[in-house]
């Protein structure tokens, strides 16, 4: 196994996780449960392919993908913030809705229930191993950027306040509602970008192509204890495990069942408090009083 191909493959696999987990951190730090990442990714992936197909430009696709994630995140935000619906229940519904809606439009626009036609994408030089794709670089840089926003900006402070103690935030004049709307919208945009990366890297949309990546991203958020950098490291860890499994599978060195289990097993371990206490934002999942 050559270390260059290991590293490049690991980063390519990690990028969708990095986008989605970074989005998940922002929403959860504001107090809104992010079970919806899978749905945001799927809608972003589909919208990106739709936009690229009709414009011929992957950049238009990126904008459409952002819009796709944003629309679904606003549905989530309205249901959970405006109507204070149970965030877990709405999250599950959003994920199912995304599967149904993308399949419906796939049939409507492309007369297929399995995949879209091939569209343009970024890069593609095999020697560059995927590193000629600007979205890959964006994915690598997104976690440090989110960390900066969360810890070093007034907006980040408000997000954390809304997630830890919404009443205190309200008492000093912060509109918790507005902060949460913004945080959920950001999570939709970032997770949507994760889907965009996935779809444009494949040059097409296929039905349910995110294949559970959104849930792995949530595991990374929890295992990373709601910190953007630690969550990103968790993403890299999960991606490294998958890469190892891909590159060693021929020799049956690691059973694939084991690798698929890793993110969830580590999440349970993290929640059980084995690696330091995993303390979620205090107001996470609670409808604002």
């Amino acid at each position: 196994m050559n270390p260059f191909s290991f590293l490049t493959q690991m980063i390519r696999i990690a990028v969708p996780f990095l986008f989605a987990a970074s989005g998940g951190v922002v929403a959860e730090r504001s107090g809104i449960v992010s079970l919806t990442l899978e749905g945001f990714m799927l809608s972003g992936a589909f919208a990106a392919v739709l936009g690229t197909n009709y414009s011929g430009s992957p950049w238009v696709g990126v904008l459409c993908g952002i819009l796709g994630g944003l629309i679904f995140s606003l549905i989530h935000a309205v249901a959970t913030i405006r109507y204070r619906a149970d965030q877990v229940v709405v999250g599950v519904a959003i994920n199912l809705l995304a599967i149904g809606v993308t399949r419906f439009f796939l049939k409507l626009f492309f007369a297929s229930s399995s995949n879209s036609p091939r569209v343009a994408g970024f890069g593609g030089n095999i020697k560059a191993a995927g590193f000629d794709n600007p979205l890959l670089w964006l994915g690598v840089l997104v976690a440090p950027f989110v960390a900066f926003v969360i810890y070093k900006t007034p907006f980040g402070l408000r997000v954390r306040a809304a997630g830890e103690h919404p009443d205190a935030a309200e008492s000093v004049g912060v509109s918790v509602t507005r902060v949460r709307y913004a945080a959920v919208a950001i999570s939709g945009i970032l997770a949507g970008l994760g889907g965009v990366y996935l779809a444009l890297d494949q040059h097409q949309f296929t039905d349910q192509m995110t294949a559970g990546r959104g849930f792995i991203a949530i595991s990374a958020v929890i295992f990373g204890r709601w910190d953007p950098i630690r969550a990103a490291l968790a993403c890299l860890l999960f991606a490294a495990a998958e890469t190892l499994q891909i590159q060693l599978q021929g020799s049956h060195a690691i059973p694939s069942q084991f690798v698929e289990m890793i993110p969830y097993a580590l999440t349970i371990i993290a929640l059980a408090g084995v690696v330091g206490r995993a303390v979620p934002p205090a107001a996470l999942g609670k409808a604002e009083a």
Binding site: I13, A79, R84, G100, S114, N115, T206, A211, G212, S256
Partner: protein, 345 residues
């Protein structure tokens, strides 16, 4: 709390409404036969470029050739499948076909409730008792099975014949016996023409998601191509789309599955191992219309034209005449029963 219920039920209502959207897919022949046939397609419905389209094509030719009177149902998720079968059976259809192994249990249960209706299941999964003997389906159920290992054997031989590197690859979807059949046949075919060739076989996962993960398929294929593999055979549903994408990116070859997948990456699809879902569907309809339908196991292999590989104008340039001749020779030997293709790893 009331608002929560309102919001979630609204979301679910929209979701369910979308799942039921389907085109009116009632095919009508000129002289319709009094025999009525109902087909329940698998999730996804028409346009899946695979099973559902194959069953539709078989039904379509039955409409044209036999004047069959056919009604289709395209279900959404899960329980709709059973409801679709039940609806057709209750309407008094003479034959009800379920497309895909996922219908197995529902067909077996309904067959007992409607003993005078004929049922057929594409890829019907037969259970075995504790001694390993196959339990036959109910007497009014035709289990339409394919010997995928025979077609896989031929494409395996072809893959080995066209690659110089002595390394060929296999990407499976979910790691289950149904897919092991493809791998076993493929391996045997490779070894037959090139005993010292290496087969790198990998699976995308251990859950049904493994059939819908083109991202994983691409990374698996890239890693195999990097190791010097020149041809990869996939049996992985839409995960295989990633294999084709990797073949394009690295300028190597891939082999499609179930239907002719040449369009997915023209110039990079060596051939496709096709399953005659259309043949099997047509055959079941014909039997019902001729009143020769009997329950039991129907196995479609090379001999029955139930499996095969694509060789036409679009991929002729990729296949040397000598390789084609060798594969045809092997095909005749399998049909004659001189080669027994293994179906387990």
């Amino acid at each position: 709390m009331r608002k929560l219920i309102i919001v979630t039920s609204l979301l679910l209502a929209v979701h369910i409404a979308l799942l039921f959207t389907r085109r009116n897919a009632i095919a009508e022949g000129k002289e319709t036969s009094p025999v009525r046939i109902g087909i329940v397609l698998d999730v996804g419905g028409r346009g899946d470029k695979s099973f559902n389209d194959g069953a539709y094509a078989g039904a379509d030719s039955a409409t044209k050739v036999l004047g069959s009177n056919i009604r289709f149902i395209e279900p959404g998720e899960g329980a709709d499948r059973e409801a679709g079968l039940r609806l057709l059976a209750a309407e008094g259809m003479n034959l009800v076909i379920g497309v895909g192994f996922i219908f197995t249990d529902d067909l077996a249960n309904l067959a007992k409730e409607y003993p005078n209706t004929a049922f057929a299941g594409i890829d019907y999964a037969l259970a075995t008792d504790k001694n390993g003997n196959v339990i036959p389906p109910p007497p009014n159920v035709a289990a339409l099975k394919f010997r995928e290992e025979e077609g896989s054997y031929l494409v395996g031989a072809l893959a080995a014949l066209v690659s110089d590197s002595k390394k060929v690859g296999f990407v499976g979807g979910m790691d289950i016996p149904l897919i092991h059949k493809f791998e076993a046949g493929y391996r045997a075919g490779v070894k037959k023409v090139c005993p010292d060739c290496q087969v790198i076989a990998q699976y995308a996962g251990v859950t049904p998601d493994a059939f819908k993960n083109p991202g994983k398929g691409k990374e698996l294929a890239l890693s195999q191509y990097n190791q010097g593999v020149e041809v990869i055979f996939h049996a992985a549903g839409s995960t295989g789309q990633g294999v084709f994408e990797a073949a394009r990116a690295t300028n190597k070859l891939a082999i499609g599955v179930d239907s002719d997948q040449n369009d997915e990456a023209p110039g990079h699809v060596l051939t496709s191992m096709v399953k005659g879902v259309n043949t099997a569907t047509f055959d079941a309809i014909r039997r019902v219309q001729n009143h020769t339908f009997k329950g039991g196991i129907y196995s479609f292999g090379l001999k029955e034209g139930g499996v095969g590989y694509i060789y036409d104008n679009r991929n002729r340039a990729l296949i040397p005449d000598s390789a084609r001749a060798r594969v045809e020779e092997l095909k005749q030997e399998i049909i004659a029963g001189r080669i027994k293709v293994p179906s387990t790893r």
